[in-house]
């Protein structure tokens, strides 16, 4: 376990110290949310209806933005070779990297989303639900991002391919995330089921994505 957390800690320190990690995702999130109302206009009711979907799409794209930094730097400087040699199983390496990615990008964005949602006149009733749904959903986003990064490890400029590969996998998270958020002011009965499905997606990714990511890295390295 110490080994696991030492890798999580190192990846977190690296995302915080280097440009292009957490800072970039946060900056992008903020930029889009500031520009949206300027582009769409000051119709508060329209913005309010738009807000949950816009926040979710922005979250998705911000997470995508930092995806190619999950494995690429370690691949380029030879660290990934040493990680493949062990002693920690590569599955746990992939999990540690996903957790670090989530703690560094997904989680802070999810926590900030209600506050920044004010820019889109987000209904105050939705503050709690959207944060909860985003915390859960962004875990799945980071795990799937890690899978995409693992499949494209060793490709130069893999970022575009990662987006194409994992966007389809992000669609269910988007659908049920927005459904859970919107249900609070729309059809309250939908909140429970949507959250359950969102949790199921996250749990399934938690189990499957690291195994698939490890297999992809191993296939490339050996």
């Amino acid at each position: 376990m110490t080994v696991f957390w030492s890798l999580v800690r190192r990846d977190l320190v690296l995302t915080l110290r280097q440009g292009g990690g957490a800072g970039m995702a946060l900056g992008f999130f903020l930029t889009v949310l500031v520009l949206l109302p300027l582009g769409i206009g000051p119709d508060l009711n329209f913005l309010q209806r738009l807000a949950p979907g816009a926040l979710w799409i922005t979250l998705l794209l911000s997470v995508l933005l930092s995806t190619d930094r999950i494995f690429a730097p370690d691949y380029e400087d030879g660290s990934l070779e040493l990680m493949t040699m062990g002693p920690m199983p590569l599955e746990l390496v992939a999990l540690a990297k996903s957790v670090a990615h989530w703690l560094g990008t997904g989680l802070p964005l999810a926590i900030l989303a209600p506050g920044l949602g004010v820019l889109l006149n987000l209904d105050t009733l939705l503050f709690g639900p959207i944060m909860l749904a985003m915390v859960l959903g962004s875990l799945a986003l980071s795990l799937l991002a890690c899978l995409g990064a693992a499949v494209t490890v060793g490709l130069r400029r893999g970022g575009m391919i990662i987006s194409l590969l994992i966007l389809p996998l992000y669609v269910p998270v988007l659908i049920f995330g927005v459904a859970a958020t919107n249900s609070v002011t729309g059809v309250p009965e939908l909140f429970g089921p949507s959250m359950l499905i969102l949790t199921a997606i996250s749990l399934a990714s938690l189990v499957l994505a690291p195994i698939a990511a490890a297999a992809a890295v191993r296939a490339h390295m050996t």
Binding site: L7, R10, D77, L82, T84, M85, P87
Partner: protein, 191 residues
């Protein structure tokens, strides 16, 4: 790449891989470390935990140093020690940095180091975490004369302690290797 290769390295012995560029020294070391497969033949590690592969019992030092430039010298070394399952105190780290004359640089970010200093930092990992096999690919690249001597010291300490050493190098480190393989003679073609 090469065929008909056969060698045995016993406890406390070294094997020197020789041959012109492109004859497969790096490939052989990578195969030993577990990256890449052999078409025919087998590798065997006797007298070890059978659960573990050669790679899991070995240090591999390739062309790259596996350093994070945004981390300090000490943080880099501490991370690898922790990752390889060893908890280390900062005085142990300082001792091992001292073995390669890096102790005064321990709080500097690794990005500020010169190529030779980075190599020395990567080398200080070898003795920090004890593993019985060292696979070293051109370990002396970028090192000055004094550091080459430190490297040779570390290598002979490792062999004296009963470790196995398989290295490829074009520099004469002043070590006597009990075994030598010239891959250039085994069909390894320099193309």
């Amino acid at each position: 790449m090469f065929s008909g290769l056969s060698f045995t390295v016993a406890q406390g012995e070294g094997l020197l891989l020789e041959g012109p560029n492109g004859t497969g020294k790096t490939s052989l070391l990578r195969i030993l470390a577990g990256f890449g497969a052999i078409e025919q033949g087998a590798l065997e590690l006797k007298g070890a935990d059978e659960e573990l592969t050669i790679g899991q019992r070995a240090h591999y030092l390739g062309h790259q140093n596996a350093l994070k430039l945004a981390l300090s010298v000490e943080e880099n070394l501490t991370f690898w020690a922790n990752f390889m399952g060893q908890s280390v105190s900062s005085s142990t780290i300082a001792d091992h940095l001292g073995a390669f004359n890096l102790e005064s640089l321990s709080s500097y970010s690794a990005g500020l180091l010169s190529a030779g200093q980075k190599r020395r930092l990567a080398l200080s990992r070898l003795e920090l975490v004890s593993r019985p096999i060292w696979l070293l690919d051109e370990p002396s690249v970028g090192l000055d004369t004094a550091s080459c001597a430190l490297l040779a010291d570390a290598m002979s300490r490792h062999m004296a302690a009963g470790g196995l050493l398989i290295a490829s190098t074009h520099t004469d480190l002043g070590l006597t290797f009990k075994n030598k393989v010239n891959l250039g003679d085994l069909g390894g073609r320099a193309t």
